[in-house]
Symmetry: C2
Subunit: 320 residues, 2 copies
Protein backbone atom coordinates (compact mmCIF):
# COMPACT_ATOMS: atom_id res chain seq x y z
CA UNK A 1 0.00 0.00 0.00
CA UNK A 2 1.42 3.36 -0.97
CA UNK A 3 1.44 5.79 1.93
CA UNK A 4 -1.36 8.32 1.86
CA UNK A 5 -0.08 11.60 0.48
CA UNK A 6 0.24 14.39 2.99
CA UNK A 7 -0.27 18.12 2.58
CA UNK A 8 2.56 19.04 4.91
CA UNK A 9 2.34 22.85 4.82
CA UNK A 10 -1.34 22.94 5.74
CA UNK A 11 -0.91 20.19 8.36
CA UNK A 12 1.91 22.12 10.03
CA UNK A 13 -0.08 25.36 9.84
CA UNK A 14 -3.10 23.68 11.49
CA UNK A 15 -0.92 22.20 14.21
CA UNK A 16 0.55 25.62 14.91
CA UNK A 17 -2.95 27.06 15.14
CA UNK A 18 -3.70 24.57 17.90
CA UNK A 19 -5.48 21.77 16.06
CA UNK A 20 -5.13 18.64 18.19
CA UNK A 21 -6.13 16.62 15.16
CA UNK A 22 -3.23 17.99 13.12
CA UNK A 23 -0.81 17.35 16.00
CA UNK A 24 -2.13 13.79 16.26
CA UNK A 25 -1.64 13.25 12.54
CA UNK A 26 1.91 14.61 12.65
CA UNK A 27 2.85 12.35 15.54
CA UNK A 28 1.32 9.40 13.69
CA UNK A 29 3.58 10.23 10.73
CA UNK A 30 6.51 10.13 13.17
CA UNK A 31 5.42 6.78 14.57
CA UNK A 32 4.93 5.31 11.13
CA UNK A 33 8.25 6.60 9.83
CA UNK A 34 6.27 8.14 6.97
CA UNK A 35 8.24 9.33 3.93
CA UNK A 36 6.80 12.84 4.43
CA UNK A 37 8.68 13.13 7.73
CA UNK A 38 11.63 14.87 6.09
CA UNK A 39 9.38 17.57 4.77
CA UNK A 40 7.51 17.76 8.10
CA UNK A 41 10.70 18.20 10.10
CA UNK A 42 12.01 20.84 7.70
CA UNK A 43 8.72 22.73 8.03
CA UNK A 44 8.72 22.47 11.83
CA UNK A 45 12.36 23.48 12.30
CA UNK A 46 11.95 27.29 12.43
CA UNK A 47 9.27 26.92 15.12
CA UNK A 48 11.12 24.63 17.49
CA UNK A 49 13.37 25.26 20.48
CA UNK A 50 10.83 27.04 22.67
CA UNK A 51 9.38 24.19 24.73
CA UNK A 52 10.89 23.11 28.02
CA UNK A 53 11.13 19.32 27.93
CA UNK A 54 10.56 17.59 31.25
CA UNK A 55 11.20 13.88 31.61
CA UNK A 56 9.37 11.99 34.31
CA UNK A 57 10.43 8.46 35.09
CA UNK A 58 9.96 5.93 37.86
CA UNK A 59 9.21 2.29 38.54
CA UNK A 60 5.68 0.98 38.16
CA UNK A 61 3.51 1.91 41.13
CA UNK A 62 5.28 5.10 42.21
CA UNK A 63 2.42 7.23 40.91
CA UNK A 64 3.63 8.55 37.58
CA UNK A 65 0.20 9.25 36.10
CA UNK A 66 -1.04 10.97 39.26
CA UNK A 67 2.14 13.02 39.42
CA UNK A 68 1.87 13.98 35.77
CA UNK A 69 -1.70 15.01 36.40
CA UNK A 70 -0.69 17.15 39.39
CA UNK A 71 2.17 18.78 37.46
CA UNK A 72 -0.09 19.53 34.51
CA UNK A 73 -2.52 21.19 36.95
CA UNK A 74 0.22 23.44 38.29
CA UNK A 75 1.39 24.29 34.76
CA UNK A 76 -2.16 25.09 33.66
CA UNK A 77 -2.59 27.42 36.65
CA UNK A 78 0.37 29.33 35.23
CA UNK A 79 -1.33 29.43 31.86
CA UNK A 80 1.13 27.11 30.17
CA UNK A 81 0.28 25.01 27.14
CA UNK A 82 1.32 21.42 27.85
CA UNK A 83 2.08 18.40 25.70
CA UNK A 84 2.28 15.01 27.34
CA UNK A 85 3.97 12.02 25.77
CA UNK A 86 3.39 8.82 27.70
CA UNK A 87 5.98 6.44 26.36
CA UNK A 88 5.55 2.80 27.13
CA UNK A 89 8.74 0.95 26.29
CA UNK A 90 7.13 -2.43 26.94
CA UNK A 91 4.11 -1.98 24.74
CA UNK A 92 3.99 -3.01 21.12
CA UNK A 93 0.89 -0.84 20.70
CA UNK A 94 0.70 2.86 20.14
CA UNK A 95 -1.93 5.51 20.04
CA UNK A 96 -5.50 4.42 20.44
CA UNK A 97 -5.82 1.71 23.03
CA UNK A 98 -3.59 3.19 25.68
CA UNK A 99 -4.69 6.70 24.96
CA UNK A 100 -8.20 5.79 26.04
CA UNK A 101 -6.98 4.87 29.50
CA UNK A 102 -4.82 7.91 29.74
CA UNK A 103 -7.62 10.21 28.79
CA UNK A 104 -9.93 8.74 31.39
CA UNK A 105 -7.19 9.12 33.98
CA UNK A 106 -6.48 12.74 33.28
CA UNK A 107 -8.32 15.73 34.64
CA UNK A 108 -7.21 17.60 31.54
CA UNK A 109 -8.53 15.34 28.80
CA UNK A 110 -10.90 18.02 27.57
CA UNK A 111 -8.59 21.00 28.09
CA UNK A 112 -7.65 22.34 24.62
CA UNK A 113 -4.35 23.63 26.04
CA UNK A 114 -3.28 20.10 26.99
CA UNK A 115 -2.31 17.53 24.41
CA UNK A 116 -1.98 13.92 25.60
CA UNK A 117 -0.48 11.13 23.55
CA UNK A 118 0.56 7.59 24.33
CA UNK A 119 3.45 6.26 22.30
CA UNK A 120 4.92 2.83 22.03
CA UNK A 121 8.65 2.74 21.67
CA UNK A 122 8.64 0.08 19.05
CA UNK A 123 11.51 -1.86 17.73
CA UNK A 124 14.84 -2.69 19.25
CA UNK A 125 16.67 0.24 17.76
CA UNK A 126 17.11 2.21 20.94
CA UNK A 127 13.61 2.28 22.42
CA UNK A 128 12.68 5.90 23.03
CA UNK A 129 15.43 7.36 20.99
CA UNK A 130 13.96 7.12 17.56
CA UNK A 131 10.39 8.41 17.60
CA UNK A 132 10.21 10.40 20.83
CA UNK A 133 12.52 13.31 19.91
CA UNK A 134 10.54 13.88 16.74
CA UNK A 135 7.24 13.79 18.60
CA UNK A 136 8.69 16.34 21.03
CA UNK A 137 9.60 18.47 18.04
CA UNK A 138 6.00 18.34 16.80
CA UNK A 139 4.60 19.44 20.18
CA UNK A 140 7.27 22.12 20.50
CA UNK A 141 6.43 23.59 17.10
CA UNK A 142 2.71 23.33 17.89
CA UNK A 143 3.27 25.85 20.65
CA UNK A 144 3.53 23.75 23.79
CA UNK A 145 5.40 25.65 26.49
CA UNK A 146 6.19 22.42 28.27
CA UNK A 147 6.49 18.90 26.88
CA UNK A 148 6.24 16.29 29.58
CA UNK A 149 7.65 12.90 28.60
CA UNK A 150 6.51 10.23 31.02
CA UNK A 151 8.03 6.78 30.90
CA UNK A 152 8.13 3.79 33.14
CA UNK A 153 11.61 3.10 34.46
CA UNK A 154 12.34 -0.16 32.77
CA UNK A 155 15.72 -1.16 31.43
CA UNK A 156 17.36 1.52 29.36
CA UNK A 157 14.33 3.77 29.04
CA UNK A 158 15.09 5.93 32.07
CA UNK A 159 18.60 6.58 30.91
CA UNK A 160 17.26 7.40 27.48
CA UNK A 161 14.68 9.80 28.85
CA UNK A 162 17.45 11.81 30.48
CA UNK A 163 19.00 12.14 27.07
CA UNK A 164 15.77 13.62 25.72
CA UNK A 165 14.81 15.99 28.51
CA UNK A 166 15.99 19.40 29.63
CA UNK A 167 14.99 18.47 33.17
CA UNK A 168 14.63 14.88 34.37
CA UNK A 169 12.45 14.11 37.37
CA UNK A 170 12.93 10.73 38.99
CA UNK A 171 9.91 9.56 40.96
CA UNK A 172 10.29 7.15 43.84
CA UNK A 173 7.97 5.79 46.47
CA UNK A 174 8.78 4.94 50.09
CA UNK A 175 9.78 1.36 50.57
CA UNK A 176 12.59 -1.00 51.15
CA UNK A 177 15.25 -1.31 48.58
CA UNK A 178 14.34 1.83 46.68
CA UNK A 179 17.73 3.29 47.38
CA UNK A 180 19.51 0.25 46.15
CA UNK A 181 17.28 0.06 43.11
CA UNK A 182 18.09 3.68 42.39
CA UNK A 183 21.80 3.08 42.54
CA UNK A 184 21.53 -0.02 40.42
CA UNK A 185 19.49 1.52 37.68
CA UNK A 186 21.84 4.44 37.44
CA UNK A 187 19.05 6.91 38.12
CA UNK A 188 21.22 8.84 40.55
CA UNK A 189 23.21 10.08 37.58
CA UNK A 190 20.21 11.01 35.49
CA UNK A 191 17.87 12.73 37.97
CA UNK A 192 17.87 16.53 38.07
CA UNK A 193 15.09 16.43 40.64
CA UNK A 194 14.15 13.49 42.85
CA UNK A 195 10.59 13.23 44.12
CA UNK A 196 9.50 10.76 46.77
CA UNK A 197 5.78 10.42 46.11
CA UNK A 198 3.23 8.83 48.45
CA UNK A 199 5.07 10.67 51.19
CA UNK A 200 2.31 9.89 53.70
CA UNK A 201 3.47 6.29 53.68
CA UNK A 202 5.90 4.77 56.16
CA UNK A 203 9.51 5.13 55.24
CA UNK A 204 9.23 8.30 53.15
CA UNK A 205 11.81 10.18 55.20
CA UNK A 206 14.15 7.22 55.14
CA UNK A 207 13.93 7.06 51.34
CA UNK A 208 14.63 10.82 51.12
CA UNK A 209 17.65 10.38 53.40
CA UNK A 210 18.89 7.41 51.36
CA UNK A 211 18.74 9.31 48.10
CA UNK A 212 20.34 12.43 49.61
CA UNK A 213 23.09 10.31 51.07
CA UNK A 214 23.78 8.61 47.77
CA UNK A 215 23.86 11.93 45.93
CA UNK A 216 26.44 13.16 48.44
CA UNK A 217 28.52 10.04 47.92
CA UNK A 218 28.38 10.54 44.19
CA UNK A 219 30.35 13.15 42.32
CA UNK A 220 27.46 15.56 41.99
CA UNK A 221 28.31 18.01 44.76
CA UNK A 222 31.21 19.88 43.19
CA UNK A 223 30.84 23.64 43.30
CA UNK A 224 28.96 24.98 40.30
CA UNK A 225 27.32 21.63 39.64
CA UNK A 226 23.61 21.19 40.04
CA UNK A 227 22.79 19.49 43.29
CA UNK A 228 19.52 17.62 42.71
CA UNK A 229 16.92 18.37 45.35
CA UNK A 230 15.05 15.45 46.92
CA UNK A 231 11.42 16.44 47.51
CA UNK A 232 8.32 14.81 48.93
CA UNK A 233 4.87 14.82 47.35
CA UNK A 234 1.46 13.26 47.80
CA UNK A 235 0.44 13.72 44.19
CA UNK A 236 -3.06 12.35 44.71
CA UNK A 237 -3.67 15.29 47.07
CA UNK A 238 -1.58 17.71 44.95
CA UNK A 239 0.58 18.16 48.02
CA UNK A 240 4.20 19.20 47.46
CA UNK A 241 3.64 20.02 43.81
CA UNK A 242 4.49 23.73 44.26
CA UNK A 243 7.91 22.74 45.59
CA UNK A 244 8.46 20.57 42.53
CA UNK A 245 7.49 23.49 40.26
CA UNK A 246 9.91 25.71 42.15
CA UNK A 247 12.69 23.16 41.74
CA UNK A 248 11.96 22.96 38.00
CA UNK A 249 12.21 26.77 37.75
CA UNK A 250 15.50 26.77 39.62
CA UNK A 251 16.85 24.05 37.40
CA UNK A 252 15.90 25.95 34.25
CA UNK A 253 17.50 29.08 35.68
CA UNK A 254 20.70 27.20 36.54
CA UNK A 255 20.85 25.56 33.11
CA UNK A 256 20.16 28.75 31.21
CA UNK A 257 22.64 30.74 33.30
CA UNK A 258 25.66 28.53 32.65
CA UNK A 259 24.99 27.26 29.16
CA UNK A 260 23.99 23.74 30.24
CA UNK A 261 20.61 24.04 28.56
CA UNK A 262 22.08 24.80 25.17
CA UNK A 263 24.75 22.15 25.66
CA UNK A 264 22.14 19.50 26.48
CA UNK A 265 20.04 20.47 23.51
CA UNK A 266 22.99 20.36 21.15
CA UNK A 267 23.92 16.93 22.44
CA UNK A 268 20.32 15.85 22.05
CA UNK A 269 20.12 17.13 18.48
CA UNK A 270 23.43 15.39 17.78
CA UNK A 271 21.98 12.11 19.05
CA UNK A 272 18.94 12.62 16.88
CA UNK A 273 21.01 13.36 13.77
CA UNK A 274 23.14 10.33 14.50
CA UNK A 275 20.17 8.01 14.93
CA UNK A 276 18.62 9.22 11.67
CA UNK A 277 21.92 8.71 9.86
CA UNK A 278 22.41 5.24 11.36
CA UNK A 279 18.84 4.32 10.46
CA UNK A 280 19.43 5.39 6.86
CA UNK A 281 22.60 3.29 6.75
CA UNK A 282 20.75 0.31 8.19
CA UNK A 283 18.13 0.68 5.50
CA UNK A 284 20.78 0.71 2.81
CA UNK A 285 22.27 -2.33 4.53
CA UNK A 286 18.85 -4.01 4.41
CA UNK A 287 18.71 -3.32 0.68
CA UNK A 288 22.13 -4.89 0.27
CA UNK A 289 20.97 -7.96 2.18
CA UNK A 290 17.73 -8.45 0.31
CA UNK A 291 19.60 -7.82 -2.94
CA UNK A 292 21.83 -10.83 -2.12
CA UNK A 293 25.04 -8.77 -2.08
CA UNK A 294 25.63 -9.60 1.57
CA UNK A 295 24.39 -13.15 1.16
CA UNK A 296 27.01 -13.93 -1.48
CA UNK A 297 29.71 -12.59 0.81
CA UNK A 298 28.27 -14.53 3.74
CA UNK A 299 28.39 -17.74 1.71
CA UNK A 300 32.10 -17.11 1.10
CA UNK A 301 32.62 -16.66 4.82
CA UNK A 302 30.77 -19.90 5.53
CA UNK A 303 32.97 -21.68 3.00
CA UNK A 304 36.13 -20.28 4.63
CA UNK A 305 37.03 -18.28 1.51
CA UNK A 306 36.62 -14.98 3.28
CA UNK A 307 36.29 -13.68 6.82
CA UNK A 308 33.71 -11.34 8.31
CA UNK A 309 36.05 -8.33 8.43
CA UNK A 310 37.09 -8.59 4.82
CA UNK A 311 33.43 -9.07 3.86
CA UNK A 312 32.41 -6.05 5.95
CA UNK A 313 34.94 -3.95 4.02
CA UNK A 314 33.22 -4.91 0.78
CA UNK A 315 29.84 -4.05 2.28
CA UNK A 316 31.09 -0.68 3.51
CA UNK A 317 32.44 0.13 0.08
CA UNK A 318 29.03 -0.73 -1.41
CA UNK A 319 27.20 1.41 1.17
CA UNK A 320 29.33 4.37 0.42
CA UNK B 1 48.30 2.52 26.19
CA UNK B 2 49.13 0.99 22.84
CA UNK B 3 47.81 -2.55 22.52
CA UNK B 4 50.41 -5.25 22.98
CA UNK B 5 51.55 -6.48 19.59
CA UNK B 6 50.39 -9.96 18.68
CA UNK B 7 52.13 -12.66 16.67
CA UNK B 8 48.95 -13.81 14.97
CA UNK B 9 50.31 -16.67 12.82
CA UNK B 10 51.99 -18.43 15.73
CA UNK B 11 49.02 -17.80 18.03
CA UNK B 12 46.63 -19.34 15.50
CA UNK B 13 49.00 -22.25 14.91
CA UNK B 14 49.19 -22.94 18.66
CA UNK B 15 45.41 -22.75 19.01
CA UNK B 16 45.04 -25.24 16.18
CA UNK B 17 47.52 -27.56 17.90
CA UNK B 18 45.26 -27.57 20.95
CA UNK B 19 46.85 -24.96 23.19
CA UNK B 20 44.15 -23.79 25.62
CA UNK B 21 46.36 -20.83 26.39
CA UNK B 22 46.41 -19.71 22.75
CA UNK B 23 42.62 -20.16 22.50
CA UNK B 24 42.20 -18.09 25.65
CA UNK B 25 44.38 -15.34 24.25
CA UNK B 26 42.49 -15.29 20.95
CA UNK B 27 39.13 -15.01 22.71
CA UNK B 28 40.54 -12.21 24.85
CA UNK B 29 41.49 -10.37 21.66
CA UNK B 30 37.87 -10.81 20.55
CA UNK B 31 36.55 -9.49 23.85
CA UNK B 32 38.89 -6.52 23.77
CA UNK B 33 38.09 -5.67 20.16
CA UNK B 34 41.86 -5.75 19.59
CA UNK B 35 43.15 -4.22 16.33
CA UNK B 36 44.77 -7.57 15.47
CA UNK B 37 41.30 -9.16 15.19
CA UNK B 38 41.14 -8.57 11.45
CA UNK B 39 44.33 -10.50 10.95
CA UNK B 40 43.15 -13.18 13.40
CA UNK B 41 39.85 -13.68 11.62
CA UNK B 42 41.55 -13.83 8.22
CA UNK B 43 43.96 -16.48 9.57
CA UNK B 44 41.15 -18.52 11.13
CA UNK B 45 38.81 -18.39 8.13
CA UNK B 46 40.12 -21.44 6.20
CA UNK B 47 39.79 -23.58 9.32
CA UNK B 48 36.24 -22.70 10.26
CA UNK B 49 32.87 -24.23 9.40
CA UNK B 50 33.45 -27.64 10.95
CA UNK B 51 32.03 -27.19 14.45
CA UNK B 52 28.39 -27.84 15.25
CA UNK B 53 27.17 -24.90 17.31
CA UNK B 54 24.63 -25.76 19.99
CA UNK B 55 22.84 -22.99 21.88
CA UNK B 56 21.50 -23.78 25.32
CA UNK B 57 19.21 -21.27 26.97
CA UNK B 58 16.76 -21.17 29.84
CA UNK B 59 15.64 -19.13 32.81
CA UNK B 60 17.76 -19.02 35.95
CA UNK B 61 17.27 -22.16 38.03
CA UNK B 62 16.35 -24.61 35.28
CA UNK B 63 19.72 -26.33 35.55
CA UNK B 64 21.73 -24.95 32.66
CA UNK B 65 25.16 -25.70 34.11
CA UNK B 66 24.20 -29.23 35.16
CA UNK B 67 22.71 -29.85 31.73
CA UNK B 68 25.79 -28.48 29.99
CA UNK B 69 27.89 -30.75 32.15
CA UNK B 70 25.77 -33.78 31.26
CA UNK B 71 25.84 -32.96 27.54
CA UNK B 72 29.59 -32.49 27.59
CA UNK B 73 29.87 -35.91 29.24
CA UNK B 74 27.89 -37.51 26.45
CA UNK B 75 29.92 -35.69 23.80
CA UNK B 76 33.19 -36.76 25.42
CA UNK B 77 32.02 -40.40 25.45
CA UNK B 78 31.75 -40.05 21.68
CA UNK B 79 35.27 -38.67 21.57
CA UNK B 80 34.21 -35.17 20.59
CA UNK B 81 36.27 -32.09 21.32
CA UNK B 82 34.03 -29.51 23.00
CA UNK B 83 34.19 -25.75 23.44
CA UNK B 84 31.84 -24.14 25.95
CA UNK B 85 31.01 -20.45 25.94
CA UNK B 86 29.02 -19.41 28.98
CA UNK B 87 27.65 -16.00 28.05
CA UNK B 88 26.24 -13.90 30.83
CA UNK B 89 24.28 -11.02 29.37
CA UNK B 90 23.81 -9.43 32.77
CA UNK B 91 27.42 -9.39 33.82
CA UNK B 92 29.74 -6.49 33.21
CA UNK B 93 32.66 -8.80 33.96
CA UNK B 94 34.28 -11.30 31.69
CA UNK B 95 36.77 -14.09 31.99
CA UNK B 96 38.40 -14.52 35.36
CA UNK B 97 35.90 -14.22 38.17
CA UNK B 98 33.10 -16.23 36.65
CA UNK B 99 35.44 -18.71 35.07
CA UNK B 100 36.55 -19.84 38.53
CA UNK B 101 33.02 -20.86 39.42
CA UNK B 102 32.46 -22.55 36.12
CA UNK B 103 35.63 -24.54 36.42
CA UNK B 104 34.73 -25.75 39.89
CA UNK B 105 31.29 -26.73 38.68
CA UNK B 106 32.48 -28.74 35.74
CA UNK B 107 33.56 -32.37 35.74
CA UNK B 108 35.63 -31.55 32.67
CA UNK B 109 37.74 -28.68 33.95
CA UNK B 110 40.92 -30.69 33.57
CA UNK B 111 39.99 -32.46 30.33
CA UNK B 112 42.29 -31.12 27.59
CA UNK B 113 39.58 -31.87 25.02
CA UNK B 114 37.16 -29.46 26.71
CA UNK B 115 37.61 -25.72 26.60
CA UNK B 116 35.44 -23.65 28.97
CA UNK B 117 35.12 -19.89 28.78
CA UNK B 118 32.86 -17.38 30.48
CA UNK B 119 32.10 -14.28 28.46
CA UNK B 120 30.32 -11.11 29.36
CA UNK B 121 28.17 -9.65 26.63
CA UNK B 122 29.24 -6.15 27.27
CA UNK B 123 27.72 -3.02 25.91
CA UNK B 124 24.26 -2.31 24.61
CA UNK B 125 25.15 -2.87 21.00
CA UNK B 126 23.39 -6.15 20.55
CA UNK B 127 24.41 -8.18 23.58
CA UNK B 128 25.65 -11.52 22.38
CA UNK B 129 25.81 -10.59 18.78
CA UNK B 130 29.10 -8.83 18.67
CA UNK B 131 31.72 -10.93 20.46
CA UNK B 132 30.12 -14.37 20.63
CA UNK B 133 30.22 -15.26 16.90
CA UNK B 134 33.90 -14.42 16.78
CA UNK B 135 34.62 -16.50 19.88
CA UNK B 136 32.72 -19.38 18.25
CA UNK B 137 34.94 -18.91 15.20
CA UNK B 138 38.05 -19.23 17.38
CA UNK B 139 36.84 -22.48 18.97
CA UNK B 140 35.74 -23.83 15.59
CA UNK B 141 39.15 -23.16 14.05
CA UNK B 142 40.84 -24.61 17.15
CA UNK B 143 39.29 -27.96 16.26
CA UNK B 144 36.25 -28.14 18.51
CA UNK B 145 33.71 -30.58 17.07
CA UNK B 146 30.97 -28.97 19.09
CA UNK B 147 30.72 -25.44 20.46
CA UNK B 148 28.14 -25.16 23.22
CA UNK B 149 26.94 -21.61 23.86
CA UNK B 150 25.12 -21.43 27.15
CA UNK B 151 23.21 -18.31 28.10
CA UNK B 152 20.61 -17.36 30.65
CA UNK B 153 17.28 -16.55 29.08
CA UNK B 154 17.03 -12.87 29.86
CA UNK B 155 15.54 -10.29 27.53
CA UNK B 156 16.84 -10.53 24.01
CA UNK B 157 19.62 -12.98 24.72
CA UNK B 158 17.66 -16.13 24.05
CA UNK B 159 16.46 -14.85 20.73
CA UNK B 160 20.01 -13.84 19.90
CA UNK B 161 21.38 -17.24 20.81
CA UNK B 162 19.07 -18.85 18.25
CA UNK B 163 20.65 -16.57 15.67
CA UNK B 164 24.09 -17.90 16.59
CA UNK B 165 23.43 -21.60 16.90
CA UNK B 166 22.91 -24.44 14.45
CA UNK B 167 20.73 -26.15 17.03
CA UNK B 168 19.02 -24.30 19.88
CA UNK B 169 18.02 -26.19 23.00
CA UNK B 170 15.53 -24.46 25.28
CA UNK B 171 15.67 -25.72 28.86
CA UNK B 172 12.65 -25.52 31.13
CA UNK B 173 11.82 -26.82 34.56
CA UNK B 174 8.46 -28.06 35.82
CA UNK B 175 6.37 -25.38 37.41
CA UNK B 176 3.45 -23.10 37.04
CA UNK B 177 3.50 -20.52 34.38
CA UNK B 178 6.42 -21.96 32.48
CA UNK B 179 4.28 -22.43 29.44
CA UNK B 180 3.09 -18.86 29.51
CA UNK B 181 6.59 -17.59 30.10
CA UNK B 182 7.73 -19.61 27.13
CA UNK B 183 5.11 -18.12 24.86
CA UNK B 184 5.83 -14.62 26.12
CA UNK B 185 9.54 -14.77 25.64
CA UNK B 186 9.12 -16.08 22.13
CA UNK B 187 11.14 -19.19 22.89
CA UNK B 188 8.63 -21.38 21.12
CA UNK B 189 9.85 -19.93 17.86
CA UNK B 190 13.53 -20.33 18.64
CA UNK B 191 13.77 -23.79 20.20
CA UNK B 192 14.83 -26.68 17.97
CA UNK B 193 14.71 -29.01 20.96
CA UNK B 194 12.85 -28.42 24.21
CA UNK B 195 14.09 -30.10 27.37
CA UNK B 196 12.15 -30.18 30.61
CA UNK B 197 14.85 -30.72 33.19
CA UNK B 198 14.32 -31.74 36.82
CA UNK B 199 11.76 -34.16 35.43
CA UNK B 200 11.47 -35.93 38.79
CA UNK B 201 9.64 -32.90 40.12
CA UNK B 202 5.89 -32.47 40.22
CA UNK B 203 4.37 -31.06 37.11
CA UNK B 204 7.01 -32.22 34.64
CA UNK B 205 4.49 -34.04 32.46
CA UNK B 206 2.16 -31.06 32.53
CA UNK B 207 4.96 -28.77 31.38
CA UNK B 208 5.83 -31.21 28.56
CA UNK B 209 2.18 -31.28 27.52
CA UNK B 210 1.93 -27.49 27.66
CA UNK B 211 4.92 -27.00 25.42
CA UNK B 212 3.80 -29.72 22.98
CA UNK B 213 0.38 -28.12 22.84
CA UNK B 214 1.79 -24.69 22.13
CA UNK B 215 4.06 -26.05 19.41
CA UNK B 216 1.01 -27.64 17.78
CA UNK B 217 -0.87 -24.37 17.98
CA UNK B 218 2.03 -22.58 16.36
CA UNK B 219 2.91 -22.79 12.70
CA UNK B 220 5.68 -25.30 13.20
CA UNK B 221 3.91 -28.47 12.22
CA UNK B 222 3.76 -28.06 8.45
CA UNK B 223 5.05 -31.05 6.53
CA UNK B 224 8.78 -30.85 5.93
CA UNK B 225 9.30 -28.46 8.81
CA UNK B 226 11.23 -29.53 11.86
CA UNK B 227 8.92 -30.45 14.67
CA UNK B 228 10.81 -29.72 17.89
CA UNK B 229 10.80 -32.67 20.27
CA UNK B 230 9.97 -32.01 23.91
CA UNK B 231 12.13 -34.24 26.11
CA UNK B 232 12.58 -34.86 29.82
CA UNK B 233 15.88 -35.01 31.66
CA UNK B 234 17.23 -35.19 35.18
CA UNK B 235 20.57 -33.70 34.27
CA UNK B 236 22.00 -34.10 37.77
CA UNK B 237 21.59 -37.89 37.33
CA UNK B 238 22.51 -37.77 33.62
CA UNK B 239 19.09 -39.25 32.95
CA UNK B 240 17.54 -38.54 29.56
CA UNK B 241 20.75 -37.16 28.11
CA UNK B 242 21.03 -39.91 25.48
CA UNK B 243 17.63 -38.89 24.13
CA UNK B 244 18.80 -35.28 23.88
CA UNK B 245 21.91 -36.40 22.00
CA UNK B 246 19.73 -38.41 19.67
CA UNK B 247 17.49 -35.41 19.05
CA UNK B 248 20.55 -33.28 18.30
CA UNK B 249 21.74 -35.89 15.77
CA UNK B 250 18.34 -35.98 14.13
CA UNK B 251 18.23 -32.18 13.95
CA UNK B 252 21.66 -32.04 12.32
CA UNK B 253 20.59 -34.71 9.87
CA UNK B 254 17.39 -32.82 9.04
CA UNK B 255 19.24 -29.52 8.62
CA UNK B 256 22.00 -31.01 6.48
CA UNK B 257 19.54 -32.95 4.34
CA UNK B 258 17.44 -30.01 3.27
CA UNK B 259 19.97 -27.20 3.19
CA UNK B 260 18.76 -25.51 6.40
CA UNK B 261 22.19 -25.81 7.99
CA UNK B 262 23.93 -23.92 5.22
CA UNK B 263 21.08 -21.41 5.08
CA UNK B 264 21.33 -20.72 8.82
CA UNK B 265 25.07 -20.36 8.63
CA UNK B 266 24.88 -17.97 5.72
CA UNK B 267 22.32 -15.86 7.56
CA UNK B 268 24.54 -15.97 10.64
CA UNK B 269 27.61 -14.87 8.67
CA UNK B 270 25.49 -12.12 7.10
CA UNK B 271 24.51 -10.88 10.55
CA UNK B 272 28.13 -10.93 11.59
CA UNK B 273 29.28 -9.00 8.52
CA UNK B 274 26.50 -6.48 9.06
CA UNK B 275 27.34 -5.94 12.70
CA UNK B 276 31.03 -5.41 11.88
CA UNK B 277 30.11 -2.93 9.14
CA UNK B 278 27.67 -1.06 11.40
CA UNK B 279 30.27 -0.96 14.15
CA UNK B 280 32.80 0.55 11.76
CA UNK B 281 30.25 3.16 10.70
CA UNK B 282 29.46 3.98 14.32
CA UNK B 283 33.14 4.47 14.98
CA UNK B 284 33.42 6.85 12.04
CA UNK B 285 30.32 8.58 13.42
CA UNK B 286 32.02 8.83 16.79
CA UNK B 287 34.98 10.49 15.10
CA UNK B 288 32.65 12.95 13.41
CA UNK B 289 31.07 13.78 16.75
CA UNK B 290 34.27 14.25 18.66
CA UNK B 291 35.63 16.27 15.75
CA UNK B 292 32.71 18.72 16.20
CA UNK B 293 31.32 18.14 12.71
CA UNK B 294 28.07 16.79 14.12
CA UNK B 295 28.05 19.32 16.95
CA UNK B 296 28.06 22.26 14.55
CA UNK B 297 25.13 20.73 12.68
CA UNK B 298 23.34 20.01 15.96
CA UNK B 299 23.70 23.64 16.99
CA UNK B 300 22.02 24.67 13.75
CA UNK B 301 19.17 22.27 14.49
CA UNK B 302 18.81 23.71 18.00
CA UNK B 303 18.69 27.20 16.51
CA UNK B 304 15.97 26.15 14.05
CA UNK B 305 18.24 26.78 11.05
CA UNK B 306 18.27 23.14 10.07
CA UNK B 307 16.37 19.98 10.85
CA UNK B 308 17.65 16.56 11.91
CA UNK B 309 17.04 14.97 8.50
CA UNK B 310 18.88 17.61 6.55
CA UNK B 311 21.70 17.43 9.09
CA UNK B 312 21.78 13.63 8.83
CA UNK B 313 22.23 13.96 5.07
CA UNK B 314 25.33 16.07 5.64
CA UNK B 315 26.65 13.53 8.14
CA UNK B 316 26.02 10.65 5.72
CA UNK B 317 27.89 12.47 2.98
CA UNK B 318 30.82 12.94 5.37
CA UNK B 319 30.77 9.29 6.41
CA UNK B 320 30.87 8.11 2.87
Amino acid sequence: MAPRSVDVPSLVASAREGSARAVARLISLVEDGHPALREVMAALAPHTGRAHVIGLTGSPGVGKSTSTNALVGALRERGKRVGILAVDPSSPFSGGALLGDRVRMSDYALDPQVYIRSMASRGHLGGLSWTTPQAIRVLDAAGCDVVLVETVGVGQSEVEIAGLADTTIVLLAPGMGDGIQAAKAGILEIGDIFVVNKADRDGADATVRDIRHMITLGDRTEPGLWRPPVLKTIAAQKSGVDEVMEAIDKHVEWMSGNGTLRERRIRRAGDEIESIAIKALRERMGDLRSGHGVEDLAAKVVDGQSDPYAAADVVLAALV
